[in-house]
Symmetry: C2
Subunit: 201 residues, 2 copies
DNA sequence: AAGGTAAGATACAAGCGCGTAGCTAAGCAA
DNA sequence: TTGCTTAGCTACGCGCTTGTATCTTACCTT
């Protein structure tokens, strides 16, 4: 009987557990996350979990910490509007990834938030979740496409904020038209590129 | 021993349980909400809860449903900017109320969302949580302060979206200066009232 | 080939939330 | 006052999660 061909160890096992934690939190929520649930999903005894982590949230935060950083938007040619839309689309993709969903689940769980270290918050948020459009906007501001003074913290947040609200309000993911509307009607006017100059299609 | 002077009944008891449910969900999160916890906090036997509700989320949703609708912003004199700031302040106040925090806790809990009826969603959200600035904007658009065509769904969401992001990112509530920045740098430009005409202080 | 490391399979008692049942007694109305 | 309704109290068995302990065995290193 060659059933258990491979017994997972080290990296491989840990990755399986991390994945299980992310899947589990998406399904049951941060509050109902248990060692049992994660272990069952990862098909490993609980003992293995306790050897490394103290509680389910610990596993989850560790899983998030070891996620690959999200892709950075790379401003391309001379297309501010298009780059902004692409940046927002990157954000939407991240939001629908296991990591993105897990972060959403965690953020409103009192216990999880309390245990969330600044380091993780930095890594998951300030580092990426919060600034998709900022990279693009800074790029074009430096090149004089619009006054750099207009690129305030508030303005840098407009796109992400509106997409976030869309994700909360509606079940379906925003279409490219939705993202374009956000860019045209909110971001571009804020940096002085109103309908007069940005009216493309 | 006149300990148990009053035995609560009907309305009074239900309100105590509703309050307990809201407090409980804020403290432990939607996932860890239990009949036991609510009952303990309301100082009533679990039996009483089961007589009316099937599970903890049921209690919580009922509590939210019976909350007083949030105050509507009332556009005042001739002060669009000031009215917008006041509308956002109303939103911040609601967000920090027990009901506001409870809604936040629920929205990312898979089980709760699944049980949330359209009626409740309507009453709690579309009805109020989503549109503080819209009321104000519509008022001034009708009076020709700016082109009504610019008041798109996206534009109506800008203020709420940015405040929401602020609430998620930062622990401290936004100050009036923060709200003013949102109005000046994001909302007003979007309706064609950029720095040239809105530069107040 | 030998030995150390760590995963896998049990098993266990303790604690808690669940849902129900039975009873007592307070509040309210006729 | 009588009697209906309903809150308060206690208790039970069930199942799940917890944290730990013990043993076997696969994998990796030397």
């Amino acid at each position: 009987m060659n059933e258990s061909r491979t017994r997972r160890r080290g990296e491989e096992l840990i990755k399986a557990i991390h994945d299980a934690a992310l899947e589990e939190v998406i399904e049951v929520g941060a509050g109902r996350l248990t060692m049992d649930g994660i272990a069952r999903r990862a098909a490993t005894p609980r003992t293995t979990l306790y050897r490394r982590w103290a509680d389910p949230i610990d596993v989850l935060l560790d899983a998030l910490y070891h996620q690959h950083p999200v892709e950075e938007p790379t401003p391309g040619a001379d297309d501010l509007r298009g780059d902004l839309i692409r940046a927002l689309r990157l954000m939407v993709e991240w939001a629908f990834s296991p990591a993105g969903r897990a972060v959403a689940a965690i953020l409103t769980d009192p216990r999880s938030v309390a245990l969330m270290s600044d380091a993780l918050f930095e890594r998951v948020f300030a580092g990426r979740g919060g600034t998709f459009t900022r990279t693009v906007l800074e790029h074009y501001a430096e090149r004089g496409h619009f006054p750099a003074a207009l690129l305030t913290p508030v303005v840098a947040d407009i796109g992400e904020a509106l997409v976030t609200k869309r994700l909360i309000d509606a079940a379906a993911p925003p279409t490219d038209e939705d993202l374009a509307a956000i860019v045209d009607q909110a971001i571009l006017p804020a940096i002085g590129l109103g309908p007069s100059s940005a009216r493309g299609s």
